[in-house]
């Protein structure tokens, strides 16, 4: 259970990660603002509360791993990895520039702390299954996390993987769906509806929960329940707001990959900085 102090620190950390990410995107002037912002809380919870990782030894064999299958949310993860010391913070200002170690989509060969190369949607969950199977063969009980998008779940391969993880009883696999209800071309229920996600994953044999993806307490409890599973993989569907924290972009269909100039980014950052003060009081 999260104490009030834990909760305060996680919220503060999430705000910091949101700011670092917007800075990086603002520095470049364009980026996947929507999907990056919707994942800030879950990634913060995982990396500052649950995952055993070592910035000094990013490929440590028994580490917990994360496959960010919606690879375009890489910048949020980069902010966390930089903050944890996997690489220097200055790297964040090289996002997507020629020769960078921080590409738009996650690349395990370029960025210390990235466990799997992703970006072609639909493939990451399968890769996470492979990692979990490799761990099982080696007697390693660490947790493999994966994050997929709700739009990504249009991909048929996601459902191939859904069958396999249940068949193989991968109880050390915990997957999140970032259900921000938007896909690139618009609202999911207008483009290609994927609901009822709970019924779908449950019927595929997964231990399935649905929580508020910006609420640390709900997510933390869901992860603890998922970790207690003995024979089933876990799906935690996160109800999120695409673009969360960037007031003018929240829930806007155009926020998938949008322009965000440096001055605007700084304005948003100022609001976020003052916002945390309010939450203190």
């Amino acid at each position: 259970m999260l104490s009030e102090q834990d909760l305060f620190l996680l919220k503060e950390k999430a705000n910091q990660i949101r700011i670092l990410t917007l800075e990086a995107i603002g520095y470049l002037g364009v980026g996947h603002v929507g999907g990056c912002m919707s994942l800030v809380e879950v990634l913060t919870l995982l990396y500052y509360r649950h995952m055993q990782v070592d910035p000094q030894d990013p490929r440590k064999r028994d580490r917990d791993q994360l496959v960010l299958s919606k690879g375009h949310a890489g910048p949020t993860l980069y902010s966390i990895l930089a903050d944890k010391g996997f690489f220097p913070g200055e790297w964040l200002h090289t996002l997507n520039k020629g020769g960078t170690r921080l590409p738009s989509h996650c690349d395990r060969n370029l960025t210390p702390g990235i466990d799997m190369t992703t970006g072609s949607l639909g493939q990451g969950l399968s890769a996470a299954i492979g990692i979990a199977l490799g761990n099982r063969l080696d007697g390693i009980n660490s947790t493999v996390y994966a994050i997929i998008g709700d739009g990504e779940s249009n991909e048929g391969q996601v459902w191939e993987a859904a069958q396999a993880a249940a068949q193989f009883k991968l109880n050390h696999l915990i997957v999140f769906t970032d259900s921000n209800r938007l896909q690139l071309d618009g609202f999911m229920n207008e483009v290609m509806n994927i609901e009822d996600l709970v019924a779908k994953w449950h019927s595929f044999g997964w231990f399935t929960q649905r929580v508020d993806g910006h609420d640390f307490k709900q997510m933390d409890e869901a992860v603890i329940l998922a970790k207690g599973q003995e024979a089933k993989p876990s799906m935690i569907i996160l109800d999120t707001i695409k673009g969360k924290g960037v007031a003018f972009a929240e829930n806007q269909p155009a926020n998938h990959n949008m322009k965000l100039d440096y001055a605007t980014a700084q304005q948003v950052i100022s609001m976020l900085q003052s916002g945390i003060g309010e939450e203190h009081e």
Partner: protein, 313 residues
Amino acid sequence: MSNQLEMRTVYNETLIELAEADERIVLLEADLMRATGTKPFSERFPARTVNVGVAEANMVCIAAGFSTTGKIPFANSFATFASRRVFDQFFISANYARLNVKLVGSDPGITAALNGGTHMAFEDLGIMRTIPGLVVFEPSDPVSLRKLVQCTAEHQGCSYMRLHRGMANILYEQDEQFELGKGKLLRTGKDIALIATGVVMVNEALKAAEMLAKDGIFASVVDMHTIKPIDRELIVQLAETCSVIVSCENHQVINGLGSAIAEVLVETLPVPMARIGVKDMFGEVGSFDYLIDRFELTAAHIVSQSRQLLLRK
């Protein structure tokens, strides 16, 4: 015939040998274990066998994830599904991610026979050849199959192997040594070079060389088991000694062995060339004997093309 062995049996035995010596070897299947002949492996190593059902895309990405944990996954399917169906999965999750996945496509080209056009891979070598850094090979006999599978297990990086499923003549001595990327000169002649790949076409090329010899035309025959990286040195050497080259493949003439050889020749020593292979056509159902004639891949076709080519010498 006692000088023949079933290729899939040899493949399975080789995988078991490798797996006994190296616990990193794992096997992935997509509900074709009975066809690819790996049941014995799965019985010997049940924990190291993963059958994903009819889901090749999932299989290839699971293999990629597996390899991040240090395992050496061999993933099997028919050549059609291993190439056409999972190209992006193999491209991104395995190759672009610089991982170590050994993909195997069985029943190449006309050997799909009674499974027909849907199952007939005439383009898999071409598809695979476009992936940066990928090793692409097709063994021609049981001995080279065993040795080249050992080579690819040792190779750090992805590979694609075309696997002839059925019986194949033994062409090499048991102690013959092989290297990926180095073709084998099976027969030396000064008049024309027949460069072939795979069980069907290496055997047809050897027959064609016999037929040509009866007319006083002496052919070199090469088993070009590795299509990528192609053995540039050997190709240039053959262009120098024979002056004309015929490529022989159980595959489209587009972007396969013939294309790979032509690319080397135009950049080094352009010589007249003919390509034996499928000429921009889809596969179709039929017996092996029907199909080899239908797609003009027989020794007789090689001989006839060779004669025409020699007129250009």
